[in-house]
Amino acid sequence: MKTRTGRSVGGNILMFLFLALFGLFFLLPGLYAAITAFKPANEILVFPPRLFVRRPTFSNFIWLSNLMTDFWVPLSRYLFNSIFLTLVGTVGHILLASMAAYPMAKHRFFGQKVISQTIVLSLLFTASVTYIPQYIILSVSHMIDTYWAVILPAFQSSLGLYLMMNFMNKIPDEMLEAARIDGAKEIRIFWSIVMPNVRPAWLTLMIFSFQSLWNSNGGGFIYNESLKPLPAVMATIAAGGVVRTGATAASALLLMIPPILLFLCSQSRVIETMSTSGLK
């Protein structure tokens, strides 16, 4: 595949320059946060500003943990909330979306077309756009200020169903027919044939669900401090202003490590799934 036509040297150089330039623009803010996390206080407020750290220190992290023990709600509680919301929301979303995607992709039934058109249309309406109408419904059903207010909306993310549906379309029908002839029930076919065959799609749904839940500060549905997840703490620390720059950067660094690691590990599967994402 290295013998591709018309790859001029000049074009290659231009391309690398372009990618390097924009790559820096996309990389630098995150890198700046990561480096600032290790800066001692006297290196944060300097003029002119410097990117790199002269004498790296863990003092910001230590300060962060001290700060946390002084909080009214202990850090462990925020951590628990974050892990709980992310775990339950992600597992539930993958399960419900796969269950729904299987008949949508492989069965034919009354009402299927309407459902599939509604799902595609709903891809347009992101969480921030439907925030107020959703707030009213959650409030009327007394779910504001509970874990459910974050978990249930995550369960029914239509992007997940849409991607799973498209991916399941690729499973050959013969494989399912063979199982049916052997007398397997639909639920069993779903669980022991379809699910193991769509692992890349699980990972993709996991990434999308994980990144939105892990980064969520409660989405405006949680006001009770002891139910709030970690990003809410970060916002509180950041609100402390310039003196807390180092601690804010340290907390941001800790928060961004899990989703980045997860993505690096599952990237090729995600790309495989996204190749079926096209809208006809």
Binding site: G6, F22, Y32, A100, I136, K185, P259, I271, S275, S277
Partner: protein, 311 residues
């Protein structure tokens, strides 16, 4: 797309609608949990927003029907509404298309590199989305005093004489926000493009080379673009959703609401009307306006892309 017909038992000749539904019991059972939640948390909210837009509703008393009053107020009696619509359209028609084109361009160029570099670059460009909260770092970069990184650099290079209030000065707020929004907008659509390039049929390129394709630009224009039309449409839908939904960047970096609503979008204005003033009826009216706007943009853009596809 052709789907294999599934029938639980035997062949169905002319079954009544009820029989058909009964035969598909398993399908409905599998779909039910997701769809019930989806109806409850997406369909009903959107539909009830339409209903509530004709009422006065403060969450405590029952909604009171007021006819077109909210719509009159929105269009004729609310100058803020036009400010936030203008800001939303700036995001939608400037950052949206720029981000869309950049997503495609980056995905294409990344695909031209080797395997390792491709993996790293994909992660780099996607990182702002992945590390969802990291955009707060722009508050330090764009800080209005001389300790702000960007001000510091510009001052040192003597390009400016005194620090600029990037997130305070009315002349710069929208520009700064658009740069940040652009920075964190390579999301799902970008990944779809990357995937689209990687799953291209290689034999098309070989055939193209024989047919007289000389360079990568021709290859892009004559082979790649036409065969990626479905990804182009999917990414466009994602991009519309993201551009019309710009909100947290603004509330985090500038404030909620921003001074004189100078940098608010329709979405943050809806939040302000709804959760600060509890005028839910009016908030729903503006939400309905936003839905219609998004729906229309989606319609126009999909027809354009479809036209492009058939040409």
């Amino acid at each position: 797309m052709p789907r294999k017909k599934h029938q639980a038992a035997g062949s169905a000749h002319r079954l009544s609608a009820w029989e058909q539904i009964r035969q598909s019991r398993d399908s409905y059972l599998l779909i039910a949990p997701f769809m019930l939640l989806f109806v409850f948390l997406t369909v009903i909210p959107i539909l009830s927003a339409v209903g509530l837009s004709f009422t006065s509703f403060n969450m405590l008393e029952t909604p009171r029907f007021v006819g077109w009053q909210n719509y009159q107020r929105m269009l004729l009696g609310d100058p803020i509404f036009y400010t936030v619509v203008k800001n939303t359209l700036l995001f939608a028609f400037l950052t949206g298309p720029i981000s869309y084109v950049l997503s495609f361009l980056f995905a294409w160029l990344i695909n031209e590199t080797g395997r390792l570099l491709r993996t790293i670059l994909t992660a780099v460009f996607y990182m702002p989305v992945l590390a969802g909260n990291i955009y707060f770092v722009w508050a330090f970069l764009l800080s209005g005093d001389s300790y702000g990184v960007i001000n510091g650099l510009l001052l040192q290079l003597n390009l400016i004489q005194e620090p600029i209030g990037w997130l305070v000065d009315q002349n710069y707020i929208m520009g700064s926000l658009m740069v940040v929004q652009l920075w964190m907008s390579l999301g799902t659509g970008f990944l779809a493009f990357i995937a689209g390039f990687q799953s291209m049929d290689r034999s098309l390129f070989e055939a193209g080379a024989i047919d007289g394709i000389h360079n990568r630009w021709q290859e892009l224009w004559y082979i790649t673009l036409p065969s990626m039309s479905s990804q182009l449409l999917f990414s466009a839908v994602m991009q519309i959703g993201a551009s019309f939904g710009v909100s947290t960047v603004i509330t985090t970096l500038v404030g909620f609401p921003t001074s004189q609503y100078s940098a608010d979008t329709v979405v943050t204005y809806i939040m302000d009307v709804g959760t600060t003033r509890f005028e839910m009826g009016y908030a729903c009216t503006i939400a309905v306006f936003l839905f219609v706007l998004m729906f229309l943009s989606n319609f126009v853009i999909s027809s354009l892309l479809r036209k492009f596809q058939t040409e």
